[in-house]
């Protein structure tokens, strides 16, 4: 019974472009079928999109919903506390209140749904995608599709995406992909990167720092952080977020190697269980965590796997065109 509820939650609640570490799809089974039926590549917009200014939120009923959505997004702890099971706020990973490019901006996400997602094995709407954030990144209980909170969040997404082309993967969408580093990622090197760059805000033990009873800086691991199903537990996703955005104001200063090392270090710590946990670590790992994360495997095992993968990929990547975004398929197909 519990298992079936867990399964139902998993199917209903998704995670997403940035959350989860599911197996990649079986080798191009569905998308690379006969050429005639393959979906067309989605156009990539040329210029960086600019969402409307906050001062342009209209003063009417619609504007009130936008504002509530923004408040939930920025201070999830207060405005959606019934649905949050850790110390995080949405804006911790979506900087500038969901506006910042390369920080999984909402304007870029909104226009890519509905989409089929490998993680959930179904067509997800933006609502069900947001539910995934609550289940995994917020380690909580997703708000209902027709709840006040969900309506406000979707309204905020919609407003930020004003004028954005529907169905187009825009520059700045999701998180950056950081090239595989020269040396295999290393926890000890990552610890040094952490101590020199991150500990001042996130604490010596990744516990975050509180001021006057609230997290001023979010916890990166431990019980109050995102769980083992969240996108940020993937080493590649975390490396992409960190390199583009961390520390504040100093995005782009860590090398590829440092970003991978520190992401590996961060994600080598314990955090809340994957809600899809079946009772068996090995089974849950094999079912949902094929690569790029430390769920049920040691840093050494992961580093070795990444190295092997990088070696075999280099040759193949040279002959193969870059992966294109396919219409109706989440760009985070391997998450």
């Amino acid at each position: 019974m519990n298992q079936s509820i867990g399964y139902l939650l998993c199917v209903l609640a998704l995670g997403g472009m940035v959350s989860g570490c599911d197996k990649p799809p079986p080798p191009a089974a569905t998308v690379a079928a006969p050429a005639a039926t393959a979906p067309a590549p989605v156009a990539v917009a040329p210029a960086r999109f600019a969402p409307p200014a906050e001062s342009d939120i209209p003063e009417n009923e619609f504007g009130e919903a936008v504002l509530l959505g923004k408040n939930i997004f920025v201070n999830t702890q207060q405005y959606a506390k019934d649905f949050v099971g850790n110390g995080m706020n949405c804006a911790n990973c979506h900087l500038d209140n969901g506006r910042k490019a390369d920080s999984a901006p909402l304007w870029a996400a909104y226009v890519l749904y509905p989409a089929y997602r490998q993680k959930t094995g179904q067509i997800d709407t933006i609502q069900s995608r947001i539910q995934g954030c609550f289940l995994y990144s917020m380690n909580g209980k997703p708000p209902a599709l027709d709840s006040k909170e969900m309506t406000a969040l979707v309204t905020y997404h919609y407003w930020l995406a004003k004028g954005a082309p529907t169905g187009v993967k825009m520059p700045g969408q999701g998180y950056l992909k950081v090239a595989k580093p020269a040396q295999k990622p290393d926890v000890a090197r990552g610890r040094a990167v952490y101590e020199n760059n991150c500990a001042i805000c996130h604490g010596a033990n990744g516990e975050g720092i509180q001021a006057r009873g609230e997290y001023a800086f979010p916890p990166l691991w431990g019980n109050d952080s995102f769980n083992w199903g969240a996108g940020m537990h993937r080493v590649d996703t975390a490396a992409g977020f960190i390199q583009a955005n961390m520390p504040y104001g100093l995005g782009g200063t860590l090398s590829d190697q440092e970003a991978w090392d520190v992401a590996l270090f961060m994600n080598s710590h314990e955090r809340p269980q994957d809600p899809r946990f079946s009772g068996s670590l090995a089974q849950t790992r094999d079912q949902h965590h094929e690569e790029n994360c430390l769920y049920g495997r040691t840093p050494e095992e992961l580093a070795a796997a990444l190295e092997k993968q990088a070696k075999t990929a280099t040759a193949a990547e040279k002959t193969k065109p870059a992966a294109e975004q396919l219409e109706g398929i989440s760009p985070a197909i391997s998450h």
Partner: protein, 213 residues
């Protein structure tokens, strides 16, 4: 008998009062040698002086306070008035003054200056930053109320505008270099002089919870 009891009672009250509000340490009120009394510029209550640009010290995290004195000693932070004072302070002086000022209440925030457009601009920067130029909001690191995140991020709400301007300018020009990980230099060098003025004016008008806004 009765008067003796009263005397004992009064004596106990005086002792209790002096324990509750421990007398300020000598370094704060009297100074020591070349180290003139902290209070002569910053006040016993740590309210500083708005006109002179002497900063508010009340509720500075002790570790942050001690680091600043150490940096004045080491020369990584320089000020013609403070540097010689810091040089003359012992470890005990630093510890005592840091503890004293950490325990003082933040002063009441300044009244908002005349130009609401400047305040609005400063508020926008403090709350939302300018991420398109990689300028994070002040409140991302100094807490949503601007009252700081111990140990490394001091309170900035209610700080005197002249002082905030002088420090942001010092980071911008490279005159001050003791910020951890160049976090403040990174921000300050991306701000225009007008923005520095606006954000300092705004921060001066907000303060202890319930005041300003």
């Amino acid at each position: 008998m009765r008067s003796t009891t009263r005397l004992i009672f009064m004596g106990t009250m005086v002792m209790a009062a002096s324990i509750a509000a421990a007398a300020p340490p000598a370094i704060v009120t009297q100074g020591k040698g070349a180290a003139i009394a902290c209070a002569s510029c910053h006040g016993v209550d740590g309210a500083g002086n708005a006109q002179a640009g002497f900063p508010v010290l009340a509720q500075l995290p002790p570790a942050h306070f001690a680091k600043q004195i150490a940096d004045f000693k080491a020369g990584t932070r320089a000020n013609p008035v403070m540097s010689p004072i810091a040089m003359a302070m012992s470890a005990e002086d630093i510890e005592a003054s840091a503890r004293h000022y950490a325990g003082q209440a933040r002063p009441k925030a300044a009244a908002a200056p005349a130009d609401p457009a400047v305040i609005a601009r400063g508020k926008q920067l403090a709350i939302n930053g300018a991420w398109d130029r990689d300028v994070p909001p002040c409140f991302k690191c100094h807490a949503v109320d601007g009252l700081g995140v111990a140990p490394a991020f001091p309170p900035i709400a209610g700080q005197h505008a002249a002082y905030t301007v002088s420090q942001l300018q010092a980071w911008k020009t490279g005159a001050r270099t003791n910020d951890p990980q160049t976090l403040m230099k990174t921000v300050a060098e991306k701000l225009t002089d007008d923005e520095i003025r606006a954000v300092a004016d705004y921060l001066a008008t907000i303060g202890t919870p319930g005041e300003g806004k």
